[in-house]
């Protein structure tokens, strides 16, 4: 194994056109870092512009757009979340059942009052989770794996509810990179941009490939 490592690195060193720069701790490291940093300069020139000046409006436009195909609701506070979820499920003709991310902000809510049966087993049903961030540029929501954030649940559900605080919406992908810069990377950082889809048969888009068929984003606050 070490053999392969050495021989690959050796062969890179031999063919290196940077004249030996790039070795660990070597003269080149700082220059390399500076060059890498410069490649991130002037992001405005190389990224799409937002559809509107307002970050939340932009997020909604992107998330609802045909490419992402999510639905979006806005509520003033967490208290009305169960009722909003219940209304969505009723409208969609789904049973009033769901599985929720085991996190205090969701556990504290009175789901029963909204007529929702909270279950432990997802099995293609509804799942509600709280996103850490939203990204307007792409209409994405971000979840990180954690003790109270199982990754698998987002993929085993049939309908995915994502709760997103308005103040957690960032403008661009770079803003997310900056937000997590220096933090210990989670095992999984997942940018979710719509429901599970596939174009594998004749290039035509079908939702519900393996994971959720629908993604419903509920923006809380900022109204």
């Amino acid at each position: 194994m070490t053999d392969a490592r050495d021989s690959i690195l050796q062969s890179l060193r031999e063919s290196s056109n940077t004249g030996g720069a790039g070795t660990i701790g070597g003269v080149g490291s700082d220059e390399i870092a500076a060059e890498a940093q410069a490649l991130l300069d002037d992001p405005i020139a190389v990224r799409p512009t937002l559809p509107s000046a307002d970050i939340v409006d932009s997020f909604i436009t992107r998330a609802r757009g045909a490419k992402v195909g999510a639905t979006v609701d806005r509520i003033a506070s967490m208290e009305t979340l169960p009722a909003t979820v219940a209304a969505y499920l009723a409208e969609a003709g789904e049973r009033a059942q769901l599985c929720r991310q085991p996190t205090p902000s969701l556990e504290a809510l009175d789901w029963a009052a909204a007529g929702i049966d909270v279950r432990g087993d997802i099995d293609d049903g509804a799942f509600v989770a709280v996103a850490l961030w939203g990204i307007s540029e792409t209409g994405s929501v971000v979840v990180h794996s954690a003790a109270d954030q199982p990754i698998l649940s987002s993929f085993l559900c049939g309908v995915q509810f994502i709760v997103l605080k308005a103040e957690r919406i960032l403008a661009h992908l770079e803003d997310y990179a900056a937000a997590v810069q220096g933090d210990l990377a989670p095992r999984n950082a997942c940018l979710i941009t719509g429901a599970s889809g596939t174009t594998d048969i004749e290039g035509s888009l079908v939702k519900g490939a393996h994971g959720p068929r629908e993604l419903h984003i509920i923006i809380v606050g900022g109204v």
Partner: protein, 470 residues
Amino acid sequence: MQVGMTSFKARAKSALADATLKTAIDRTAGNAETKRATAVGEFPQFDAARRRGRKIKDHVIANLEHYLTQFERNAIASGAKVHWARTSQEASRIVIDICKAANAKSVTRSKSMLGEEIGLPHALEAAGIERVETDLAEHIVQLADETPSHIVWPAMHKTREQVAELFKSQHQELPASDAIPDLVESARKDLRRKFLNADVGISGANFLIADTGAICTVTNEGNAELTTTPPKVHIVTAGIEKLVPSLGHAFMLLRLLVRSATGGDFTQYTTFHCGPKRPEDADGPEEFHIVLVDNGRTKMRRELPEMLRCIRCGACMNHCVVYRQIGGHAYGATYPGPMGSVLTPVLDGLKQSRELPHACTLNGKCAEVCPVEIPLPSLLRGWRERSWKEGLEPVTVRAGIGGWAFVARRPGLYHMATAIAVRLMRLFKRGGRIAWMPFAGGWTEYRDLPAPPKKTFINAYHASRRGAKP
């Protein structure tokens, strides 16, 4: 399968005779072409982004050793085990050994062209390990016992009718109809059980993030996460060119990749995987292995550095007139289309694959759409030069081009030769056309040839200037 047994020309010929294949390719590639055009049209910064993307890749390739060791250090710190493989055999052996150590009976795989390149499907089969392909297209290809025909749409060669046939004969959950949503639903049900019971999940990586040691997968189906979360062991196989300095760099390239591949703005699931399950985590694999694969890449860095920029978007094949006629299998290699015809001589040797760089009109469309500005036609021409230099070109071609160039370098002789050629050609003309002529079969089998007038331009022009009868 297709490799080696028949010649490129024979495979191309049978592909051309397959009208269903053409329908299938046009449906998907046609869709992709239109969607890409729209996505690029809606992103006025695309050209600037391409130049930046190219610079990012060039920077990484120039400093590959730095980034590889930085990545390795951070990956190990996150709890990953990092393996290195010089060749495809070494890479697949490492993967099989990890599977065996985990007592794996069944593995799930999330689509990875590198996995195909290193022969993983075959190696798993040889080791007696059940392989479940989780990408819908790879699943179709597996049921049909074929190989991918496209790097983004492995089942591009299949029409929905053919997929329906496959699913009806092999799924437990039969599709309700031939409609595409019903086919997808049938696969969803069939695959779901298998996801959860696998012992090992194997994925590729679209990017390796040097400053965190994370690997990035992108899918629209969500199958990568379903492949890599439930099993005890997650193995990543990745080419060493997949490095980027940081998350921000990955995002810049993702903007290009997604638009060029599917015409979306972003993939549905873009996930950064960093190490195994943490003690407090709700789920995730206990072991996380990353296999860094060279397989010709260090050699390419010397000889074809531009090609290491490739981010595997597939746009070059969607826009290739040759690919669109013959499909991916005719190329007889892991990577088809323009990028494949540049890569295959590296991977399989030029002698085996010298036809591929020739099977191209050099029209330049691939380079025009390539999101990292790879000059594919020049690279293909480079292989032609190599092949000529190494004496791999057939004698007929060498004699033909050599003889013609010999004459063309002797103007007097050349103009005598053209005058004779004109006279000979005119022997075969009917009206203004030639429908058949010896030595011109390649042309006249399919097309008429215009008959030349009695005098060449040079002769006629100078004759008229000298006042003679033109």
